[in-house]
């Protein structure tokens, strides 16, 4: 398949891995920020191709994982109202709130629908003028433009029965938090390619300078990630700290200016809670006052629905790259995709789910299967 197969060529992958092994002289800890990248690494076993000096830790870039528990509770509260049609991306439905999830709410009679685009929710609102249609607007800068477009369109059409539960978060503030932590281990970042497709990578230059940490904007295919790792290792070995762009077929320096204009028209930067991490200043979007009529939290008055999660929940450490999912004593025991205890076990992009789905076997009885780990010497 065009634009896919050429980035999954096993021979080239082996060759790049061998280049990395030639380049590396000492241990480095790298973080891929985006959950989509974690998924690819696990699915293709990229980490098994790398020399043992290169350790990958997994970042907070899984929208499902970082959506705070109280937002899920608010979603369930609204979805359970008789007049509401609650529309969401599919993988939010299984995220546990305090007591339930949206699938359970649906089983209890709530009208919960899966959509592939927020514009589907606008269409549903148009077709159901007697119902209130709420879209669950979650995600990073990647999903924000489409969500902004839906609100913008709804306002233009003067739809009075469409609103959005906004829980948007931004990548750079989370990276700053990780870098500023005294326990930080991360020495180089694979920056999220799709976020940068929208936002460009100018905003990462400040972080690079301040913390003297290299960043490479990386794509999502196996060869993208291997090349990004090679570029990071090269910078580290040569003592450089710069922003480089591996994902040039999608990302440029300024990003998508039309999308950014729309974002700023509809959203403004605000503080946001992150599941497992807590409040981070200026780390998300909320709707601008001009769009208040489309803010589900304003329309439905949900302020009283709050929930705190235990600050010591281990998923916070996983999301910051301080722990591997398998280091959690509940991993694969009490916490599985059937009964997830924390959000990283829910989404395919969540680090815990990625390990559970692709890697449980690499541990107990299977000596033979781990032999790839130091392969390309």
């Amino acid at each position: 398949m065009k634009y896919v197969d050429e980035y999954r060529d096993p021979q080239i992958a082996q060759a790049v891995a061998a280049e990395i092994a030639r380049k590396v002289t000492r241990p480095w800890v790298l973080m891929e920020v985006c959950g989509g990248q974690t998924h690819t690494l696990m699915r293709y076993g990229i980490d098994e191709l790398l020399p043992k000096e290169v350790e990958l830790v997994h970042g907070p870039g899984c929208p499902v994982c970082v959506t705070p528990i109280e937002m899920v509770d608010r979603a369930i509260r609204m979805a359970s109202m008789r007049q509401v049609i609650f529309v969401s991306y599919g993988d939010m439905l299984r995220v546990p709130g305090s007591h339930s999830d949206l699938f359970q709410a649906k089983a209890d009679g709530a009208d919960v629908r899966i959509a592939y685009s927020p514009m589907d929710a606008v269409r549903i609102a148009r077709a159901n003028p007697d119902r209130q249609v709420v879209f669950f607007g979650v995600g990073f800068e990647t999903t924000a433009p489409a969500n902004a477009m839906a609100v913008w369109q709804a306002k233009r059409e003067r739809l009075s029965n469409f609103s959005m539960l906004v829980s948007h978060v931004l990548v750079p503030p989370a990276m700053r938090l990780i870098l500023g932590s005294p326990s930080n281990r991360v020495q180089g970042f694979i920056a999220p390619g799709h976020v940068c497709t929208v936002m460009g990578y100018s905003e990462y230059a400040g972080l690079v300078k301040e913390f003297h940490v290299p960043m490479v904007v990386g794509g999502f295919e196996p060869l993208d990630l291997l090349e990004a790792i090679f570029m990071l290792v090269s910078q580290l070995e040569e003592g450089r700290a710069e922003v480089e762009n591996q994902y040039a077929r999608s990302v440029n320096y300024e990003g998508n200016l039309a999308a950014q204009r729309l974002l700023l028209e509809v959203f403004e930067v605000s503080g946001r809670k992150w599941r497992g991490i807590g409040e981070i200043a200026d780390s998300g979007f909320r709707l601008r006052p001009e769009y208040q009529a489309f803010d589900a939290e304003y329309v439905f008055d949900l302020e009283d629905v709050t929930a705190e999660e235990p600050a010591e929940c281990v998923s916070a450490l996983v999301l910051q790259g301080l722990l591997k999912p398998v280091d959690c004593p509940e991993f694969g025991r009490r916490c599985t995709p059937v009964a997830p205890l924390g959000a990283p076990m829910v989404s395919a992009e969540g680090a815990c789910a990625a390990y559970y789905q692709y890697r449980r076997h690499a541990r107990p009885q299977t000596d033979g299967l781990a032999t790839m780990s130091n392969a390309p010497a």
Partner: protein
């Protein structure tokens, strides 16, 4: 890096539910992990254990782990008997010296009509295939209709005509039936149940519990066609190439396979261990069930699994894995290693097996688990999903 050895999963394939949350011996827990977290065991409190029990959710119908849980926790303890407990796609009953295959299936597909078929033809193919997977020659079907008040009789006529044609093509007769009507809003237009009876030839005993280490896994053709065609139609997703369901009756392919096997010196059943049609839950669920029932590991090779470009493209866009997508005209055969090559040869002569491939091998390592050698040479688990596959956010 491979995950550290310390925190091994003792019971990776067991379904864990809140009721199992008894205090356990924690002496084996990784101290290093606790120290790394800068905390004690007591602080490993994750939020919100979820009640997965108490109510049916859509995932219980997905053919994945939740479906298995329903079976294990509700039906099997109450209905338990040696025939049911084999958990094959069909029951095989010996009556008056004849071995009958007996199976039932309900069809709730939406939309009722889709590229490559409709609910009527699917209801015939599905049950014919469940009989065929037991090696049986399908003979008779029943048809039960649950109709929603307000359904256009023209629609029902089209569906019935399609069933009649599919049955005639498969050489089976619909010999009994039932019709019920539910109030508007209590059904989704039209649901169909079909039950089938067939005769199992002498010497044929196929079962998911008969697989042995060394056996080969054969797949009859490309995967994911049905599920993606339905999804695209239901959600109004458009692609350049039209996606078509692969819905088809597989019994003539199976008959050809049994014929090959019967020439084995050791007899039919020594050659073919088991047949499965990977319907809901896809190839992954079918192989996981086989691995579990036979207590073997199964390793498949990514590079050998055919997926049409249109299906791959749709899966890439939606963040779905074709291994979990439903098929309605494909089969998996587990055969003895000596027979594998000849079997693939023979299958390729049949139009429904033209793309047949050996895709993997059963082995002794990690019994009950399915793994896949990726095109990169690494190995990953092919897990059974908990519920339905969910399209990813981005």
């Amino acid at each position: 890096m491979p995950p550290p050895e310390a925190s091994s999963v003792a019971n990776a394939t067991t379904v864990e539910t809140p009721s199992d949350f008894a205090p356990e011996d924690r002496s084996a827990e990784p101290d290093a992990a606790r120290q790394a977290a800068g905390s004690t065991a007591a602080s490993f409190v994750c939020p919100t254990p979820l009640p997965t029990k108490g109510r049916i959710v859509l995932g219980h119908g997905s053919g994945g782990r939740l479906s298995a849980e329903l079976l294990q926790e509700i039906f099997l303890p109450l209905f338990s008997n040696p025939i049911l407990n084999r958990l094959d796609d069909q029951a095989v009953l010996e009556i008056g010296g004849t071995r009958l295959a007996f199976t039932t299936d309900s069809f709730v597909v939406k939309p009722l009509f889709f590229p490559g078929g409709d609910i009527g033809s699917l209801a015939v193919h599905g049950t014919v295939n469940d009989l065929a997977m037991g090696g049986a020659r399908p003979l008779f079907l029943s048809a039960g209709f649950i109709l929603e008040e307000g359904l256009d009789t023209g629609v029902l006529r089209r569906v019935a005509a399609s069933m009649a044609k599919a049955a005639a093509d498969a050489g089976v007769s619909i010999v009994t039936g039932d019709t019920k009507v539910v109030e508007k809003g209590k059904g989704d237009g039209l649901f169909i149940n079909t039950t089938g009876i067939g005769v199992v030839p002498d010497g044929v005993t196929l079962s998911a519990s008969r697989v042995r280490p060394g056996d080969r896994v054969i797949l009859s053709g490309s995967i994911g066609d049905h599920g993606i065609a339905i999804l695209a139609q239901r959600e109004g997703l458009e692609f350049e190439t039209e996606l078509m369901s692969d819905s088809a009756s597989l019994h003539t392919l199976v008959a050809a396979m049994l014929e090959v096997s019967s020439h084995m010196p050791s007899g039919v059943s020594q050659g073919i261990r088991c047949l499965r049609d990977p319907t809901r839950g896809g190839v992954s669920s079918a192989l996981n069930e086989i691995a579990g029932q036979s207590r073997v590991g199964i390793e498949i090779e990514e590079a050998r699994i055919p997926v049409r470009d249109a299906v791959r493209g749709a899966c890439e866009m939606l963040g779905l894995d074709p291994l979990y997508v439903a098929n309605e005209g494909k089969l998996l055969a587990i055969v003895s290693p000596e027979l594998a090559e000849a079997m693939v040869e023979a299958m390729r002569w049949h139009p429904l097996g033209a793309q047949a491939q050996i895709i993997g091998t059963a082995h002794e390592m990690h019994p009950g688990m399915v793994t896949m050698r990726t095109v990169f040479g690494s190995t990953r688990i092919v897990d059974m999903l908990a519920g339905d596959q969910l399209p990813r956010i981005c």
